[in-house]
Subunit: 186 residues, 2 copies
DNA sequence: CCTACCGATCGGTAGG
DNA sequence: CCTACCGATCGGTAGG
């Protein structure tokens, strides 16, 4: 006899994040998602109410992780340089520990309806403002542009970094900070 | 009487690039594409043979633009620093002048079948190798990582830069080069 | 380039 | 969580 799979709502949301990250929202069907969980498509609707709601939940989880990380980093006592280091280390941790939610947050937010999309854009801007603020404290000439450049490096990690490689997490943080502070002349 | 729209194959490919860039490959239906051209879905098939072929064509156009740009930059005489500047200026030109093909190249290549995807990955690695080579000539400590960081900044332009803003193209190039060479301490 | 289709798949529901 | 569906939309074809 075959056993029926029984899944929690959290299983559904987490697996949705995985598939949205890998194949994109429009590239993932509800039947794909159900199959990944060992269910039939219709069974998903006892856990969630719509595919769109699932995307909202995953993307907002990503947004929340980044904001929590930034809030903690800004609360670090000491110099602004130390807070910048905490911001970068926190960002790296969020990307590497919650890759699916981060990828969905970064790449699929554009699919959301107007209301949710603008909420996500606002969250992103608030997060970026944390970087601008610390960079301002460090008397950087153009904190806005510096924040964009640093976050470009950080957000791109999702596209190339593999934890199985030779570059360890702490080294990665140091390399990014070194590059941001001094460029390639080190 | 209403006039029949008559489109060229190139119109179809260019418009496909626009929609793939904006909504993603899976978020664009052939009827969406046709409507954007003032046609009915079935009319597209006198120009192209499949939706997948359309994606291949747009992505390979993006790959080709970047490679041509790098080849020209590497042919620049003078110092390695000058060649790096040519690489960065060329990349910025490609992104700003061919935004749709670039966005599709960067964000939708993963949708391609195995054969085409690995071809695109190889093209990307060849392009990145141009950066590694020039950075090596400049005696950078870790040319591989420096190339990744610089390209992270360059590829992210697609996500935030608006030509209507106050930052001009040449200033953008200078800012990126300054950041890459010296970091935020300038 | 349009008319008229095709089978397959989509997100989702009713009811058990 | 499954069975049995639903109408809508998908990529694509035949023929003019």
């Amino acid at each position: 006899m075959t056993t029926r799979a029984v899944r929690s709502r959290d299983d559904v949301v987490r697996t949705a994040g995985k598939l949205f990250a890998e194949r994109g929202y429009h590239g993932t069907s509800m039947r794909d998602l159900a199959a990944e969980l060992g269910l039939l498509g219709s069974s998903l609707y006892s856990h969630i109410s719509s595919k769109e709601d699932l995307l909202v939940e995953v993307v907002e989880k990503g947004a929340h992780l980044f904001q929590s990380s930034a809030d903690a980093a800004l609360a670090t006592s000491g110099t602004a340089a130390k807070r910048l280091k905490a911001l970068v280390a926190g960002h790296v941790d969020v990307v590497l520990d919650h890759l699916d939610e981060v990828r969905t947050f970064l790449n699929e937010a554009g699919v959301l309806d107007e209301v949710h999309r603008s909420r996500v854009l606002a969250a992103r801007d608030r997060y970026e403002a944390s970087y601008r603020e610390v960079l301002s404290e460090m008397k950087v000439a153009d904190p806005k542009l510096a924040a964009i450049f640093l976050l470009s490096i950080l957000n791109a990690l999702e596209r190339w970094y593999r934890p199985t490689g030779s570059l360890q997490r702490q080294d990665l943080v140091d390399e990014i900070l070194g590059f941001a502070l001094n460029g390639i002349r080190r």
